[in-house]
Amino acid sequence: MLPQYWNNYFIVALSFFLALVLAIYPLPLDWRWWRPEFVLLLAIYWISVFPLTMSLFLLCGLGLFEDLLEGVPLGEHSLSMIIVAYICILSYQRVRNFPLWKEAGWVFVLVGLAQLPGNWVQSMAGRPLAGILFLAPALTSALIWPLVREFMDRICSHYRIT
């Protein structure tokens, strides 16, 4: 029997792996705006479960890997990842007491915030901003958050992750 933390590591890594696959799953070109930011959602979730042991360095590395995967300038996702992760670590105690809908609203704010560095980087690389459409991933992320939360809570209780 492996020790408990191996179990935890495995589940966390596996969930991030699935999130990365979902993040690059091919969608029709015009629908891509509505893809939720799965990796970011999971990062927010795991920080709320392990606020003291999630490593910002590892999350930063994960963001870099996502940049590599998506073919965008290196650092775009990792910058937004550490910004969001830092805010999450500062605020997890308060957010824990939120009802689910309020939590979804908070996720909307966080993902919207994460879009800003991305838009900044892309506009520096010569692509014009798309107006208010850049909030579309934040909206879908917030809408899907209750599902993610419920699903991950079940996984956690099933595999006794603490």
Partner: protein, 267 residues
């Protein structure tokens, strides 16, 4: 982190790093490609006999039509070579092509980039033009061992030199981030461009071969107060629908050296 971003955007230093690390991303794209392969396998395996028969029939008819055109084409090509020799011009050779299949789409909604399943193993090079059955699609911007990334002509950072097929008026068509739209830059207000004109690649800049259809002019707005007309065109290639694409090998000598230094793409 911000320094890393700036270095990545404004210098080419991180490019080799990317190329080295790109093998890590291959399994992910293979994984997301599985559903497509399954559905393809399904349609092949569970196709009904009748459907196959009728498709076969249709393809045979099409083949006949194309063969007839081909016969004409041979005569025309020979005549073309003769006339070019009279003019002392370099004769255009038939371009070699490689068929590739789309395996991924860039997840970032601001990039119009697709991923195809051919790479440096098959001799794909950076700057190589990509076509589909209807027109020019874009060019290769990043080559890995088995896959490469293709920048579509509708990407806001892409521009392509074109000419009107009817009369040879030249212009530059640039993407605006919309799949069904290209803008022509700096078209003077009295230039002879009409709605419905076919724009073909002009071959200036030596990156794209001459004479492939690029777009059709959809709208020309002439405002007499302004120096330039606003010309909107619709790409001929089905940028969001084509699954099979053609990678064109330039048959002119030293093409890759040319293309890496040419200014055909990017502003």
């Amino acid at each position: 982190m911000i320094a890393l971003i700036l270095v990545g955007i404004f210098t080419p230093w991180l490019k080799p790093v990317r190329q080295q690390l790109n093998f890590l991303t291959v399994p992910f794209y293979q994984l997301t490609d599985i559903p497509r392969r399954l559905s393809e396998w399904g349609t092949v395996t569970f196709a009904s006999d009748n459907d196959l028969r009728s498709e076969n029939e249709r393809l045979k008819t099409e083949l006949l039509i194309y063969q007839r055109k081909q016969q004409q084409m041979a005569a025309l090509a020979a005549e073309n070579v003769r006339l070019r020799q009279l003019l002392n011009a370099r004769d255009i050779l038939q371009d070699k092509v490689l068929i590739a299949e789309l395996v991924g789409v860039s997840p970032n909604p601001l990039n119009h980039v697709v991923i195809v399943n051919r790479g440096s193993k098959e001799g794909v090079y950076e700057g190589q033009p990509v076509l589909d059955a209807f027109g020019l699609m874009g060019q290769v911007i990043e080559v890995n061992e088995d896959t490469s990334r293709v920048l579509l002509i509708s990407d806001p950072t892409h521009a392509i030199p074109v000419q009107v097929n009817r009369n040879g008026v030249r212009a530059v068509a640039e993407g605006v981030g919309d799949l069904n739209r290209l803008n022509l830059r700096h078209v003077s207000i009295n230039a002879d461009i009409r709605e419905g004109d076919l724009l073909v690649s002009s071959g200036l800049g030596e990156r794209f071969p001459v004479g492939y259809p690029v777009a059709e002019v959809e709208q020309v707005v002439r405002n007499s107060g302004q120096a330039f007309a606003r010309v909107i065109a619709r790409p001929m290639a089905r940028l969001d629908r084509s699954r099979h694409v053609l990678l064109v090998f330039d048959t002119h000598s030293g093409s890759s050296e040319h293309s890496s230094s040419s200014s055909a793409a990017g502003r």
